[in-house]
């Protein structure tokens, strides 16, 4: 762990040093001429022709058919205080383009290689690779509506990081947690219809066979069924209101003690989402009623009410502060502790001409019992290459470890990504 911390500070030092190097400039035949200031300050020279010649690489980008293609190569290393270390590489390929008038195609796939030091490879006993088709869909647009058919993700809800309403698309929890958030989602085969009427927007979806969260690559298949639902969204000045109804399956399967099989069950979701901007403040709320929910402690099922509220505040210099809580209880009951089940506090800011992005996220959970804090820094070396580092500290008090999300008491992560 100490070594990891040392590496973290060395990396920060290197970044600072690299930044300093740019100030000097790599070409000593060119110099930064402060005498320009003096020339241009003289008001009696205002009308003198002082046209400068610029020699700026045009870098003109022509639009061609392969313009829609992109690829990225990434390597992630995480050192934890437990045995859940990460050491893996990922190649991602993406293509998106309009293929005909009114038709649009998107394909997104990845191949991950789990090195021998990776915890998933250790569990399997050898290094291995895994390919994944994350998204592949075709979109067709008519006068008022758009239809999207294929493997895709669908995200509902206003309060980020809460799962009051964001329960449609499950997660692939074998992904590194601080990588692109989009990679965490596990695409489902579905048909989505979106219709737009000025300030109104309605959405219907149908999934023939629902997916569940992936916890490991050895996870057995979980039987599910059809999912469907709809959302009606209305936008007013500085206010968005959404009403949602859906028939869904639990994303987190449970181990049935009878037969020791992973199972999931269907439930009904009725929800409301509101987002209101007041100056620099954004107030968000999600409320949901869910039938047939499983209490992981008592293993009893009941209908539940859940609510998440959040606020985002953006300062004049574009720092973002956010706070949210998420509470859930069985119908007719009040959370016995009378305090939020989950609470988050966050801060983010971009520095050095947006090259360095910093964020801090704290999370307090009453059920299961744990607290954690994550510090994340991403530095863009250029338009192609970026480095990310994260330090996560957790205090896990929960006695049943299966209830706690995949967290180590201490974890230090590094990631390098090349994207073109």
């Amino acid at each position: 762990m100490r070594k990891g911390l040392t590496c973290f500070f060395i990396l920060i030092g290197l970044i600072s040093h690299a930044y300093g190097d740019f100030v000097e400039g790599p070409d000593d035949t060119l110099h930064q001429d402060h005498s320009l200031q003096d020339e241009w300050l003289a008001e009696d020279l205002l009308l003198e022709t002082d046209e400068l010649e610029f020699d700026i690489p045009p870098g003109k980008i022509e639009r061609r058919w392969w313009q829609g293609m992109s690829a990225s190569l990434q390597h992630d290393v995480t050192q934890t205080s437990s045995t859940d270390n990460i050491n893996r590489s990922k190649l991602r390929l993406e293509y998106e383009s309009s293929i005909s008038d009114g038709f649009y195609l998107l394909a997104k796939s990845s191949y991950r290689y789990f090195n021998q030091q990776d915890s998933l490879a250790k569990k399997r006993g050898e290094a291995y690779g895994k390919a994944r088709l994350q998204q592949l869909w075709l979109q067709y647009s008519t006068q008022q509506c758009g239809y999207t058919l294929g493997r895709q993700t669908l995200v509902w809800g206003e309060v980020d990081g809460s799962f009051v309403v964001d329960v449609l698309t499950p997660f692939d929890l074998t992904e590194q947690l601080f990588t692109d958030y989009g990679d965490l989602r596990k695409g489902e085969d579905m048909l989505v219809m979106d219709c737009f009427y000025g300030k109104h927007q309605s959405q219907l979806f149908y999934t023939p066979s629902a997916n569940v969260h992936t916890f490991s690559h050895e996870q057995p298949h979980v039987e599910t069924g059809q999912e469907w639902g709809g959302r009606f969204k209305y936008s007013l000045a500085n206010l968005d209101v959404s009403l949602m109804l859906a028939h869904l399956y639990w994303n987190a399967p449970f181990l049935n003690p009878v037969g020791f099989q992973l199972q999931t069950q269907s439930y009904r979701l009725s929800a409301l989402g509101v987002s209101k901007a007041v100056g620099r403040l954004l107030i968000k709320m999600d409320v949901a009623h869910k039938t047939n929910q499983l209490d992981l402690i008592s293993l009893q099922r009941s209908d539940t009410w859940s609510m998440a509220m959040g606020v985002d505040y953006t300062t004049a210099d574009n720092q973002n502060f956010n706070m949210g809580f998420w509470q859930q209880g069985a119908t007719g009951e009040v959370n016995e502790l009378g305090i939020p089940l989950q609470m988050t506090l966050g801060w983010s800011h971009s520095l050095w001409h947006d090259d360095l992005s910093l964020s801090l996220l704290a999370n307090v959970s009453q059920q299961p019992q744990y607290e954690n804090i994550t510090w994340l820094a991403t530095y863009k070396l250029n338009d192609v290459c970026s480095f990310t580092s994260a330090l996560s500290l957790a205090n896990i008090r929960e006695e049943n470890p299966e209830l706690v999300p995949p967290l180590a008491n201490e974890a230090l992560s590094f990631s390098v990504k090349v994207e073109f």
Binding site: I56, D101, S141, G182, Q201, A277, R280
Partner: protein, 294 residues
């Protein structure tokens, strides 16, 4: 908000052909006319612009990048609304770099300073449209646009009441008759600006700026903007290249308008949240607009 203001670059770089008895105008009237004409030409505009940003050095009066420039390529569509066409709606989509491709932003801004602007952001990683808290434009500190040297303040238009203007000189500059106008912020504006003074070289015949110099709070030259490749399209003048040099950070940003279509018919529905998520709809409309570029 950033992308919305970015589009203002195009307004700023454009102005219609305008002939007048220049000597009859005072500084405020010149600035107001320039501002009014800029609003008129931005009513229905499609553009594809590239911003290149780098540290620079100088050799034999030639300014060059001393590092590989960062390049952002984007397409934007805007339209003016409301009384006197002073409110605006626009949508911008990033095409390059690959790591930011597909980021889309929809912004509505209002001339009424008490009315908050509205912005929605689409990030493919997020997978949904997110409303942003942007506040009123008057409430914002100047910020860099896409990490470039262009700041929101450099792009601003329509705030002529907040400055006092004076013609410092007039005469020939780079072969064109110009006024050199000094712009000083009033006390209220001074709290929100990084500049204590701005000098604008206004072309007397074409009513576009040829050069702008901005001075920091200590009165030292801070930024210098040059406008080049001035063309007349559909009777309107525009500079297809604008280069801003930050003399403090020794960085420059060059904005190049690769393609532009002025006064095109923009469907009102295009400037809604649909454009951020219905890609087939967006491309259908954009291909029609791309076909009209000059």
């Amino acid at each position: 908000m950033k992308t919305m203001l970015l589009l203002c670059v195009c307004w700023w770089m454009m102005a219609p052909v305008y002939s007048l008895e220049s000597t009859e105008l005072d500084a405020r009237a010149i600035i107001d006319k320039m501002d009014r004409q800029q609003r008129l030409v931005s009513n229905g505009t499609f553009s594809r612009s590239q911003i290149s940003t780098c540290k620079y050095g100088k050799k034999n009066k030639k300014i060059s990048c001393i590092e590989t420039p960062r390049i952002k390529l984007m397409e934007s569509v805007s339209k003016q609304y409301g009384k006197n066409k002073k409110d605006s709606k626009n949508v911008s989509v990033l095409l390059q770099p690959a790591s930011e491709r597909g980021i889309g932003m929809l912004s509505y801004s209002y001339d009424d300073s008490s009315k908050d602007s509205e912005s929605w952001l689409y990030l493919s990683a997020l997978g949904k449209v997110k409303r942003l808290a942007s506040g009123a434009s008057d409430d914002q500190e100047p910020t860099a646009i896409f990490g470039s040297e262009f700041s929101t303040e450099d792009m601003e238009s329509g705030k002529t009441d907040e400055y006092s203007y004076k013609i410092l000189q007039q005469g020939a500059y780079q072969g064109h008759q110009v006024w050199v106008i000094e712009s000083i912020p009033n006390l209220a504006r001074l709290k929100k600006t990084h500049y204590s003074k701005v000098l604008i070289w206004v072309d007397q015949a074409r009513f576009i700026p040829l050069k702008i110099q901005s001075y920091d709070k200590r009165g030292k030259l801070y930024k210098r903007t040059s406008f080049r490749s001035i063309e007349n399209i559909k009777g309107l003048w525009l500079a297809r290249e604008a280069t801003i040099m930050n003399l403090k950070s020794q960085r420059l940003s060059n904005m190049s308008t690769q393609a532009i279509a002025l006064n095109v018919d923009v469907n009102d529905e295009f400037l809604t949240q649909r454009t951020l998520t219905d890609f087939a709809f967006r491309e259908k409309h954009l291909s029609r607009l791309r076909a009209q570029v000059q």
